[in-house]
Symmetry: C2
Subunit: 389 residues, 2 copies
């Protein structure tokens, strides 16, 4: 059990009708705001108008940057950095899902350095010692970027999709209003749920001993997703379902559940290579890979973890033999993802073949073997890609 | 489901050997430190010497205030306030359990006002707009004061024991080293566990609908206490048990599990009147009262909550009739508290008779009926005292 530091000072306004607090929170940082968002969805749901009204009433100077992509690209970050510098921006307001928030984080860091923001990524990454303050209004429950200090940016030129964690990237304030996710499609809701589950599974399936309390907390979060994701897919305007998914998305990845665990994640690096090349939705890639990764890793030594997962999250009969519980747990996870949530089951279902598997496997291990629940070499990764085909 | 604000910026160093970070953290606030602690226990376990070494190496000016009582008294707070003012203190370092930390909080607030600190309490309490920074080193897992913004102070002159919550009282940094609780007696360990459980039960047993996720999180915390409290009592130097209890104590009461719930607590106000007059340990009072309060409140309408509690925390057979599950849940709680943890079962076991019951019941309802899980009038409170006799 390793020592750790817990330090998550993000302030969260959770629930309906909290946006009247936006102006007061932003004013703590200054008057010149970069407002950044994705496509037109925030206009369709009326959120854009509400945000502009609050900003106008607060007397803020607003510069806008729309069009942040899913799997946000370094070009968008560069444009944001340019605007921050040109307009001497005091704070960034990101309205959207994880993509918009991730992009905003690197704009915020890039605004305070001279070098290109792509230099924040990769093996010789430049330090991130400072960033403009970031405030977020979340519209998609998935990545947890609203309460964590990380982000992932794609570079299509180099076919790279790279993540970076740095404390100055932590948002100062996040607004989580479940009703803002009512218009999220069934497909994106399902992908978001798969992403949340994966964030927990990546930490839960760990050979390092840590606090039992945190294992129980993770099971609590996973039970919540298992219960409410299908409801949110069936009934998009079910407040209870949307609210539970939304708060679970933040707690899945804000660092609390990690405790002192230091093992690397497994499915995320494998998936990042998929979506770097194919631009498929991150959560779908995770949904397809995770059950195969679980099957690939299962052995007599680590079966106990699968047993807890099956019994405590999916209610599998605890009197069955351990290996049976493990297989039943994986089957229940597959039923959730592919039947209840309706996600595609195989890479070939989304037009991906084995052309790039060897290259992707090599890149997934660019910093060495993946030392997660079970250590994975590039050969292991390629095998898991093939199982998922 | 009410909206809420989540905002818990306390930084926590968790685990062994983190005290080398103390100087760096304190230095953020200044150089003149009031070091406050209780009896001699921190000297017996060598903690005092380690703290003094860190403070000396950091070049701090240190003023000491020892002798903070269990159920800390307003006189100690007054003395702390006097020292803060006289020595122009920059920050308070509280080393101890909840009593020491609670006292430190009101010293920190009192240092910045002219009036007597007892005026922070009661019906016409003065505002707490500011406080000196507070850093804590925790030596007892119980009250959660290390990560919350509240405290309770006793005034023996008026037989009052009053609590107060105020945001400036939130510690800036807390050090949670489970090994510092190894020397806590079996009895105090058991009382602390009862206190932690009670903090969760007070929120869990609530008729306001809130996030299912938070109910699951509370069950996770309660399972942790149920599993590890008996181990810590049997094996005082079991790191795993001490660590789980310690982190659970913070999360039981730092506000996270509350979500948007606004119902009042029940057992705490009843217990505060007990320990205001009899000076019994807070956790023991809670342990004695809680099962009787649960029996008193149980009815056909609210039995579902007892069922979740029984099934998810104690593993009671979910196929039994709901009322049977409820009674079995209470029986299991009693078995935990009075058999496994060895606490006294009845008020009469600790020399308390019914002399003051009417007065205590009236005081417990000094601000009106207790509007908790079930609304309690002074007559109800007196009946629960009598059941506990």
């Amino acid at each position: 059990m390793n020592p750790f530091v817990y330090d998550i000072p993000v302030k969260v306004y959770f629930g309906r009708d909290q946006l009247h607090n936006l102006g007061g929170e932003l004013a703590k940082f200054g008057q010149r705001i970069l407002l950044t968002y994705g496509g037109g969805s925030i206009k369709r749901i009326g959120l854009y108008d509400r945000v502009i009204k609050e900003l106008r009433e607060g007397g803020f100077e607003v510069v806008e940057l729309a069009g942040i992509e899913p799997n946000p690209r370094i070009e968008s970050v560069r444009e944001g950095v340019r605007l921050c510098k040109e307009h001497n921006i005091d704070a960034i307001l990101a309205v959207g899902g994880g993509s918009t928030i991730d992009a905003a984080k690197f704009m915020a860091a890039g605004a305070l350095v001279e070098h290109d923001p792509w230099e924040f990524f990769g093996a010789n990454a430049k330090p991130i010692d400072n960033a403009l303050p970031i405030v977020t209004i979340l519209t998609l429950s998935a990545t947890g970027s609203e309460m964590d200090s990380g982000g992932v940016i794609s570079n299509l030129e180099t076919s790279d999709k790279l993540g970076r964690l740095a404390r100055p990237l932590l948002p100062k304030v996040s607004f989580l209003d479940p009703t803002l996710t009512y218009s999220v499609s069934k497909y994106q809701t399902a992908c978001g749920a798969a992403d949340i589950l994966s964030h927990i599974i990546e930490v839960y399936f760990n050979t390092q001993q840590d606090l039992y309390m945190l294992d129980c907390m993770m099971e609590a979060l996973m039970k919540t997703v298992v219960k409410y994701a299908p409801i949110a897919v069936r009934e998009p305007e079910n407040y209870e379902a949307r609210a539970n998914l939304m708060w679970a998305s933040s707690w899945a990845i804000n660092g609390f559940i990690n405790g002192g665990k230091r093992k690397a994640w497994s499915c995320h690096p494998m998936e990042h290579e998929l979506s770097a090349i194919y631009d498929i939705t991150h959560g779908l890639g995770l949904a397809i890979l995770t059950p195969h990764w679980m099957k690939y890793c299962l052995n007599e030594e680590n079966v106990a973890k699968y047993v807890s997962f099956g019994v405590n999250v999916f209610g599998v009969d605890s009197t069955l033999p351990p290996m049976d519980i493990a297989h039943e747990a994986i089957a229940r996870l597959e039923r959730l993802l592919f039947e209840e949530l309706g996600l595609q089951r195989r890479l070939s279902d989304v037009g991906i073949d084995d052309t790039h598997f060897a290259e992707m496997a090599r890149k997934a291990c660019r910093y060495g073997d993946i030392k997660g629940f079970v250590t994975l070499t590039p050969e292991d990764v390629e095998r898991i890609y093939r199982m998922s085909l």
